[in-house]
């Protein structure tokens, strides 16, 4: 039982680290890549990064945050007041080293995919020009 459980958890962490990330996880990592943010700050950043296409509610956001903390991609930093908002104290989240590496690996994967797509596009263009 223990073996299975550990095996399962190990596989989940591996998945999060190396295989394609879910859109929510990718966007949260992107939002945290430049600076630490609180929940609402992450949401706003994701919305502007994706030009309003990715809309996360609190359920998805905090569900993903929980799993990402467990996988070591991000961590809680401080609980402090955001000077641009009110005087309530909010928990800030920051990206970890593993998170940075995961994000870099994922972006590299995207670059490769885009490169392949470009090449194909070029090939079809050449064909279209009768070359």
């Amino acid at each position: 039982m223990t073996y299975i459980r550990n095996g399962y958890i190990a596989e989940r962490v591996k998945n999060l680290t190396y295989t394609p990330l879910t859109p929510a996880v990718l966007h949260i990592l992107l939002a945290l890549s430049t600076q630490e943010r609180h929940g609402y700050g992450i949401m706003k950043q994701v919305e502007s990064d994706s030009h309003g296409k990715v809309k996360m509610g609190p359920g998805t956001l905090y569900g993903s945050i929980g799993r990402m903390i467990d996988a070591g991609l991000i961590r809680e930093s401080d609980k402090k007041v955001d000077p641009e908002m009110d005087d309530e104290r909010r928990v800030y989240y920051q990206i970890t080293g593993i998170g940075q590496k995961t994000l870099a690996a994922e972006l590299e994967r995207y670059r490769e995919v885009v490169a392949v797509a470009r090449k194909r596009q070029l090939a079809t263009n050449l064909l279209a020009y009768g070359l």
Binding site: M1, I4, R5, G7, Y8, E11, R12, N15, H38, G39, Y40, M43, G57, P58, G59, T60, L61, Y62, G63, I65, G66, M85, E88, R90, V91
Partner: protein
């Protein structure tokens, strides 16, 4: 601002909704979620737009999160405990109670109703048939849950067998829910002309529909999680 009382009310409701999260999760993120909810509502209010749609969307979205987190906790606790005796006991008791209702009070009640209105007795008997069908599906689903516990105890939790049991539970729950909806519509049609008050049965039906959709959702989530675990393990062992 006119939306201030609305904001406060929505925030209260949202805090109540958050209580349905598993305790460790709620202690970790409850406050942050409430703040975020409030921040989003306030932003919307400052733009001068209506809050209702945003709030409704977040309630639905958070409910989905609640179901998911609870399903995860249930899976984990079953696997940690290793023993499933308590769950077996609960399932057996529920099954006995359901069967007892079918055998004793239900036919007697129906017979009394049918005697009152002999002309339309067939309608009542049709209801009885529907109720029995639902009870049969319910007991079938409980039996599948029992089998699932057997697989867990036999260290076969992550197997095609459990996926199949979960799929059957999901299908039973969906069918029960659909039968409830049919029943509700039918009661409303029947009572439309007569002036009878149908609110009681309709409310019961709605509660039943809601409960069976929750069961179906949990079964579906567990099914995909188990399937995913099986798939990753297959990939891991070439």
């Amino acid at each position: 601002m006119a939306s201030e009382p609305f904001l406060r009310r929505y925030r209260n409701w949202y805090a109540k909704l958050l209580r349905l999260y598993p305790k460790p999760y709620r202690e970790r993120f409850g406050e942050g979620m409430e703040q975020t909810f409030n921040d989003l509502c306030r932003e919307r209010a400052q733009e001068g737009k209506g809050l209702f749609r945003l709030a409704l969307w977040m309630f639905v979205e958070t409910s989905a999160g609640i179901i998911k987190e609870n399903a995860t906790i249930i899976t984990r606790s079953i696997m940690n405990r290793g023993s499933t005796i308590f769950l077996r006991l609960v399932i057996s008791l529920i099954a006995i109670a359901a069967l007892a209702v079918c055998v004793f009070p239900l036919p007697r009640m129906i017979a009394k109703e049918a005697a009152k209105t002999p002309d339309t007795a067939w309608q009542i008997y049709l209801f009885l048939a529907g109720a029995y069908l639902q009870a049969a599906l319910f007991v079938f689903a409980l039996f599948q849950a029992f089998k699932l516990l057997n697989y867990i105890d036999g260290n076969k939790a992550f197997s095609e067998l459990s996926v199949r049991a979960l799929r059957r539970i999901k299908h039973s729950a969906i069918t029960i829910g659909l039968l409830m909806v049919v029943g509700i519509v039918w009661v409303m049609i029947l009572s439309a002309g007569t002036g009878d008050d149908s609110a009681g049965p309709v409310m019961l039906g709605l509660i039943g529909t809601f409960a069976s959709s929750v069961v179906a959702a949990v079964a579906a989530i567990l099914q995909t999680q188990v399937q995913k675990a099986i798939d990753t393990r297959k990939e891991g062992l070439p």
